[in-house]
Subunit: 354 residues, 2 copies
């Protein structure tokens, strides 16, 4: 009898960080695609556009505020914040009573961070010193927001590309800070603490060691960070960037860690762009210690990249049907995806052309 | 001071069925949209197309099989099944040891169900007697698959529209049966059982009673079923169709329940199409008792509709960034969405034109 082989046979893999599972169907990677094709993004971006509401000196989307003539990064309050600082306290129902209608008033502050004054660059095309300014802005925001008494958690993220709902091509990210710890980071912190209390070691330190030793799922790395396609990846080319040693949050970063984060952010996104010779769309998010002082002893700084493309600049994976109603599913294995990304250059295709 | 009002102030709502939360930002519903616009689907569908690999008498996608000249529904094994019946048993690692690499071989069978021989109809445009044949096919598949000793769960779903990754416009759904109970239904069953053991009543019976009484979130109903935008809806126009009295699975349906399911399936999807005068995309999935005999005493038949459109046929909600990395978020409240759907006609815009 053929023994079970996860590079060949359908199976589920478990994500010990999120506490979830994913169905992997390696035998299906070759099925023909007859479905929707996305438009490949055009690459005729000007460096400056007077209608770009994130551009230096330009009017913002609401028409009443003007951006300063900024030279590197620029941070401001989102003009349409999903959370507000002055929501009145209140609640409906009670979870502990098994009430069916349960709601709680929440507060927060949503910020926007422009990565560069130029409209025609992406993270993948920026220099490490320019990205270091982005990292510095993140560190600043994390520290400033954590001082607000109504903030418990700071979620830093980037939606890149119109396929990922990004409403402006100007290179930028967002920071949504909130009066509670949102579901995804809370689940991770809970699982990190459980592992720590049972094993005595830290889950993501053990995981980084295991992946460095095996090499099979490694994409790239530097002194501080390792980029892998995690064993339990859901998105076709999902990447996890984690610090090799546990660092609870950016608060604890020195110069080396900040430079290394800028370096790996560029290298991962550059490999992405080179994979299908396109401005590769993704959502990126940073998970680290909440800012209310909780979970400091187990939190472990890491970044998730969730990119939708599957086979080319125009064929994506859809998380629909079975995925929405039952369980995440993928065809390509994590090992195959890691190999593809490992084989990509760290020189951007746009620079290689020059 | 203004008291907290969930039609106005940012808040979180809890989903007692899934055990999750959603951030609701009602004040933000009016923000301008500058992002990606989808192409509106064209409506020049022929009734028959020789290249439609789901059409009667046509060759299938692999070129080797020919469909019969079917007259109503037609069910067959998916040509590219995500699960196979003959996967060798096996596993890597052990969850109970906190192993970091955990995988388990799994089996299953994936089926495709064509709803009609015609290419140019959708559920919303089909008659109740024609949809009754679809319901009959579901009941049949559920019963047949449950007899396979390696099947524990049957997931019936429909991906409609290319925006939902549907790779063929022919009206069809899928049935993925599996050797385990997938994550989403398992979480629901666990929460239904918890509620039952604490309260003595059934969660979804209590919920149907509450919603019928209030009326605020009701879309439509018939003798057996109620369609609501649930209090905890994540997708802008998400709908939950539930039986008013607990029925564990379709196995227990009589003629009345089958006709009533066909009726509400048509009425909900017809209202969807009329909302933005488009063939409204969605993923629909049925949750009911697993087929391995477990959870029979708490399972409660229901259907989820997860549609992405937000403001028009071309502007959708993206579940990206904050949603993927932190927590689900919506602008419009469930109550506003329910009112919009309640105000829609149950005569399809294509029929109204005739
Ligand atoms: O089977 P199809 O229609 O080719 O594929 C579609 O539905 C599947 C099940 O929800 C998903 O896994 C795919 O991502 C989606 O494109
Ligand atoms: O804030 P933006 O860029 O307009 O909006 C985008 O990011 C948000 C945060 O992830 C999402 O809620 C929106 O669905 C998405 O379109």
């Amino acid at each position: 009898d053929t023994p079970f082989d996860y590079s060949e046979h359908p199976h589920r893999r478990r994500n010990p960080l999120a506490g979830t599972w994913v169905l992997v169907s390696p035998h299906r990677a070759k099925r023909p695609w007859q479905g929707s094709q996305e438009d490949a993004p055009s690459d005729d971006r000007p460096e400056y556009d007077p209608n770009d509401y994130l551009g230096p000196g330009n009017s913002r989307v609401n028409g009443t505020v003007q951006n300063p003539d900024y030279k590197d990064t620029f941070v401001f309050d989102n003009d349409f914040q999903a959370l507000l600082s002055d929501t009145p306290d209140g609640a409906v129902g009670n979870v502990d009573n098994d009430d069916l209608l349960v709601a709680r008033a929440e507060k927060g502050k949503c910020r926007v961070l422009c990565f560069s004054p130029k409209l025609n660059v992406t993270v993948a095309e920026m220099s490490v010193p320019a990205l270091r300014k982005v990292v510095d802005a993140w560190v600043d925001e994390y520290a400033t927001l954590s001082k607000l008494d109504y903030i418990a958690h700071v979620q830093i993220f980037e939606n890149k590309g119109s396929m990922m709902g990004c409403s402006n091509a100007h290179p930028h990210g967002q920071i949504w800070s909130s009066s509670w710890i949102p579901e995804a980071p809370l689940a991770e912190l809970t699982n990190l603490a459980g592992y720590r209390s049972r094993k005595g070691t830290h889950m993501l330190e053990d995981y980084a060691t295991l992946e460095e030793k095996s090499g099979e799922r490694v994409v790239c790395g530097n002194t501080t960070f390792l980029a892998v396609v995690p064993f339990w990846a859901v998105w076709p080319f999902e990447v996890l960037v984690l610090s090799k040693k546990r660092i609870p949050s950016m608060d604890a970063f020195g110069d080396q860690e900040k430079d290394d984060l800028a370096d790996i952010y560029r290298r991962v996104t550059c490999r992405y762009d080179n994979l299908f010779t396109t401005l590769f769309p993704y959502s990126m998010g940073i998970h680290q210690a909440p800012t209310d002082g909780s979970w400091q002893d187990v939190a472990h700084f890491h970044m998730h990249f969730y990119p939708p493309l599957l086979r080319s600049a125009t064929v994506r994976k859809f998380m629909v049907g079975f995925e929405l109603l039952a369980e995440a599913q993928r065809d390509l294995t994590a090992e195959q995806a890691a190999k593809r990304l490992r084989d990509c250059s760290e020189v951007h295709f746009n620079d290689a052309k020059k």
